[in-house]
Symmetry: C2
Subunit: 660 residues, 2 copies
């Protein structure tokens, strides 16, 4: 590309050159449109069967383009107007020799035969095939569709149009080199890519962006070992249970040999993904990789089955969402973008989406996104996994990549042993023996108590999740050096308070996971409950404490509610304080209990501080009293919830004890 | 914005409405250009003084636009051609009442007076001012410049043009409400923003993106407490030492009151930033925030002093870089983008950059970025700090935000105490006493040895950096749960080997930081060196080992090279193996040594494995022998370097010992 400096000099130096220079060489071109009514001939032979890959799909999209005034067709506009704003590109049948660049001769012959097949044979083929149907014109239509994709790409690459959209069917991205499947006969985009690379020296590196709701398995296969083609697909994967079923759509399918890293899968864990999720994937993963790859041509496998309203896709991408993705892609390859229709089955959705895409291709700004661009937790998880995986192959991702673990160890034990050693130093706390087979041996060291706790009037039973380690990793290496790692230990605040007040305290740490053999059988909740009963029965009940105070931090709360339900503690329990983080379930006391007054008692004797981010605050209806006296903390993080509430909790405890 | 569905129905339902619908309402409009030759009258009174804010700046940009054929001016093109491709917007003087929306009456009067000032007074004002100069027409020009910005924004907001560029001077973003500074008299962009918000009900939320190389302090001040204006500035900060000097450009200046989070500073640590750094900031920070804010109008404070070639800015943004940033911004506000010239002093650079921006505004795709989009370490660090800071205010950043620490603890001690307890369990290793005042007390526990090490023939002295903790944080909460945190401990491999061979081993762990009082005085390198000498003198030298093996992991290597230089160990040291990570300096043995043979000996007795990512491999010239026998590991991570080399190291050691 000439730099403007020269550009300008060119003009001034030689006057006669002026006319030769088009100041806006690309934007002065039209956007191309490929549509051929004959592609509607491919249909099911069985009239009853309303197949989702319906001939009306392309017709509805074409109609929407006409009615929006982008193309001029009296059939829809009545009058003949000033003419098309889009440049028409004629489809034509793909030649066998072109198709052979991707497909096998056997595949061609198989489709060829469908032309002569009789009704019975066609029904048989449809039945035997993997989600494909055939009629006598399927072969012809699929050749038109494939040839249409080729001509559309050529029109863009040759500079006849600035960019283009091909409204074609049958779709192609599921078609394997040797097999028709998933409504696809020929792999239109793959064949077009191969032909363009062959015929245009300036078209070496092609990027295929597949935003169709399901993996383009055929495209992935065709270029899996081809470093000249970058295939990126965002699709519903669902642990391999979404079409095309199997592991091929997972993020570890990243190409092979010289093409390692040239296959990028973004496998959504489930349906329901929306604009925010797609924008996040584009900003964090797709565009950085695309800019680093720097393609000569961008082809979009544009299925619209992730569009809001599509039953099969089950996602919520709006026309505005597709418009924004298109706009971002237009910054690549000097604007050479070709959008080829793939799936998408809700006629209204695909028309609206395709129209929005066409307008952006033609220069309209994308619609504003009023619903915001915040990604769902699931999308964030998936995209980060992809970044962390692909960052081996793409330097531009390294700085975004989350941390990978290098070697295993058992830090829960590390921290707990340190924590208890600190507590034994500070308060001379010591471990209590846990002599029960059903309780994991790993619980040794998890239960510690203050010296002579059994001689005190008041005992505090504190049950908590393990402290967290948080740290600021080096953003470039994503490594955490130890001196930047911090222990987030809310429990110590409570221990300090109890000791200061002269209370006894038993501290139960509940590992989130137990390392070692019993890992697979360990269940934090069950263990918490069992442990709390065990401690009550063996270390509290037998001793004659006047007052018992129950406190919990995090999901360990379940231990206390379980205890209240299965032991009659109300005699001696004076007050309960619990702290819950954003993701901790809130347990109630009512479950399987005969005593009808327990919930009321629990409500009157508890103070439960819950993270400001907890879902419970979304609810409109007030929560029942059996959940205790819930208070919304101003803080989001569990440790901050505890810290900010301690003052109030101390007063509450003093009052509770004073009442005696 | 009407959705296409309705749009289409409108047409079909009522024929007569057809003509009323413009299918491409925005892209069918031209791009606006505001330029007024009279803005060149503002100049220094002192003819000798060639000030960088030179009247030719706007002229050169205008000339470039003409010569590229975007606007038609016979002065440059000779012939009158088909007319302007851009829509001309006339500048006019800002009214006092408009200026007062931002500036103080005193400020207006001050500038007003400059009109009557005589030469001497003007020279005085220029001398007294903070980088501003005045002549009799400065007031007039600055009013034109400000009025031009207003008219340009109005033309876009009223739909007269689709977007626009204002080639105006003097610039504005340094101008404070009550003070002219930094070549700026009136704050053009601020005044325009206020006027537009006043006159257009549809213009409530304005985003100002300032990519000028220095902070727009005036703009920051004007809207610091205004939640209706999002100000984002990417600038050279240099610890507050770059103009405008002071802390105001730092990332913690984020707005106040209801406007908290509405001021976003990206403070580059130094010059030399390029396209990759700006693209990274845009993808990771600017665009996510912008999409979440969803502005009604975007104004770019477009200084081009970060452009390659600008001496004051000292950065390397190319015209293509500005084009890509512009393209991204055009996806906002339904395309309503106004680019206002601010700084930029290399006439060639600003012309090329402004032309590239204008072409993208007019619909041309941005140039391809052949130099790739990989950000520098410094940029990554800064942008991540910004994300982590701003993520409190912007939900869309939470999922990208690096981890923040919540509460402090001393995990180095945690891990080391765990590590040594593990080693004492596994190999009955015990701590060696360190009885030297100058060595930090924290070194207790840092030096441990195998039982009866002193009775062995062969002793291994292993000095290493503390193991790293790495983990996969929850990408949504950015918290690390303990059961996902791992200890990366390369040393254990060596300990196991030594014990297995029946060697004695002394293990020295060098904390990267010492927690506690002496934190500020602690220096890892000095301590390493002192500690190695101390161990040699007290635990190795006095004992009669036949063979000594020296090994190091990480930057602790400096301890061994220091030892070799300051003690004559060659009698008994048979072999040396060292492992170095990407960022560990490689120490040589020659420093302050009389013995000329040491380097040679070191080279012949050492095997030094260095991370594949280490800078040393960039060098063309072979490194000197005094650095030892360097081997490039296939691995990048230190722990992998050790793991992959252990086999070779073991053989090497066997041979070295066999020679005796």
């Amino acid at each position: 590309m000439p730099n403007e400096g020269e550009d300008a000099r060119l003009v001034t130096s030689e006057g006669h050159q002026r006319k030769r220079i088009n100041p806006l060489p690309i934007s002065s071109l039209k956007t191309g449109l490929c549509y051929d009514v004959r592609m509607r001939y491919h249909a099911t032979v069985d009239a009853e069967d309303m197949h989702p890959e319906d001939p009306r799909r392309i017709y509805e999209i074409y109609k929407a383009l006409c009615q929006a005034g982008l193309v001029d067709d009296p059939e829809f506009t009545g009058v003949k107007r000033k003419g098309d704003l889009m440049h028409r590109i004629d489809a034509r049948e793909v030649s066998k020799e072109e198709a052979m660049l991707v497909h096998t001769p056997a595949h061609w012959d198989f489709l060829d035969k469908t032309q002569e097949a009789d009704l019975e044979e066609l029904q048989m083929l449809t039945m035997e095939g993997d989600s494909v149907y055939f009629n006598a014109l399927s072969f012809f239509c699929s050749r038109l569709s494939c040839g249409g994709a080729i001509e559309t790409c050529k029109a863009v690459m040759s500079g006849q149009v600035k960019n283009a959209i091909a409204v074609i069917r049958p779709p192609g991205h599921h078609a394997e080199p040797d097999q028709a499947m998933g409504f696809c006969l020929f792999n239109n985009v793959c064949v077009a890519t191969k032909v363009l690379q062959r015929d245009f020296p300036s078209c070496k590196k092609v990027m295929i962006l597949d935003w169709c709701g399901s993996l383009g398995n055929g495209t992935q296969t065709a270029f899996y070992d081809d470093p000249s083609v970058l295939y990126m697909s965002i699709h519903r994967y669902q642990g391999g249970n979404f079409y095309p079923v199997g592991p091929a759509g997972n993020l570890d399918y990243c190409g092979t040999g010289a093409a390692i890293g040239m296959n990028v899968n973004v496998p959504w864990e489930n349906g329901g993904m929306g604009d925010g999720d797609y924008m996040f994937a584009f900003q964090q993963l797709i565009m950085p990789i695309a800019l680093e790859f720097n393609p000569d041509l961008v082809i979009v496998s544009a299925g619209f089955d992730a569009a809001a309203g599509d039953a099969l896709g089950g996602c919520y991408v709006t026309p505005g969402g597709y418009a924004h993705m298109t706009h971002m892609l237009m910054s690549l390859a000097g604007g050479k973008v070709v959008v080829c229709l793939e799936g998408g089955y809700n006629l209204q959705s695909i028309s609206n989406s395709a129209l929005a895409v066409a307008k952006v291709l033609m220069g309209e700004p994308p619609e504003r996104m009023h619903q915001g661009n915040v990604a769902s937790k699931s999308a964030v998880r998936v995209v980060h996994q992809c970044i962390s995986y692909q960052s081996r192959f793409w330097r531009s991702l390294r700085s975004c990549a989350p941390i990978h673990a290098t070697q295993l160890d058992f830090p829960e034990d590390v921290i707990r042993s340190y924590q208890s050693s600190q507590l034994s130093k500070k308060h001379r706390m010591f471990p209590l023996a846990i002599l029960r087979d059903e309780l994991s041996p790993s619980f040794e060291n998890e239960v510690i108590a203050t010296p002579e706790y059994y001689e005190k009037d008041t005992i505090v039973l504190l049950v908590h999740d393990p402290p967290l380690v948080t740290a600021q990793p080096d953003p470039h290496t994503n490594r955490i050096a130890l001196h930047t790692a911090f222990l987030v230990d809310a429990g110590s605040m409570i221990v300090d308070w109890a000791v200061e007040k002269g209370f006894g305290l038993i501290d139960i740490n509940i590992p989130l996971e137990i390392t070692g053999d019993d890992e697979n059988v360990y269940n934090a909740t069950l263990s918490t409950e069992a442990l709390c009963l065990y401690i009550w029965d063996n270390y509290i009940e037998p001793n004659d404490f006047k007052n018992v105070i129950l406190m919990s931090i995090g999901q360990a709360q379940s231990g206390l509610t379980h205890l209240l339900v299965h032991r009659d503690c109300r005699e001696r329990v004076r007050a309960i304080a619990e702290f819950l983080g954003e993701n901790n379930p809130i347990k109630a006391v009512s479950s399987n209990i005969i005593d009808e007054y327990l919930p009321e008692w629990y409500y009157n004797h508890s103070l439960i501080f819950v993270s400001s981010e907890h879902d419970v605050w979304e609810r409109t209806r007030k929560t029942k009293r059996k959940f205790g006296d819930l208070r919304r903390s101003a803080e989001a993080e569990l440790v901050d919830v505890v810290r900010s509430a301690m003052g109030q909790v101390k007063e509450y405890m003093d009052e509770a004890l004073a009442e005696e």
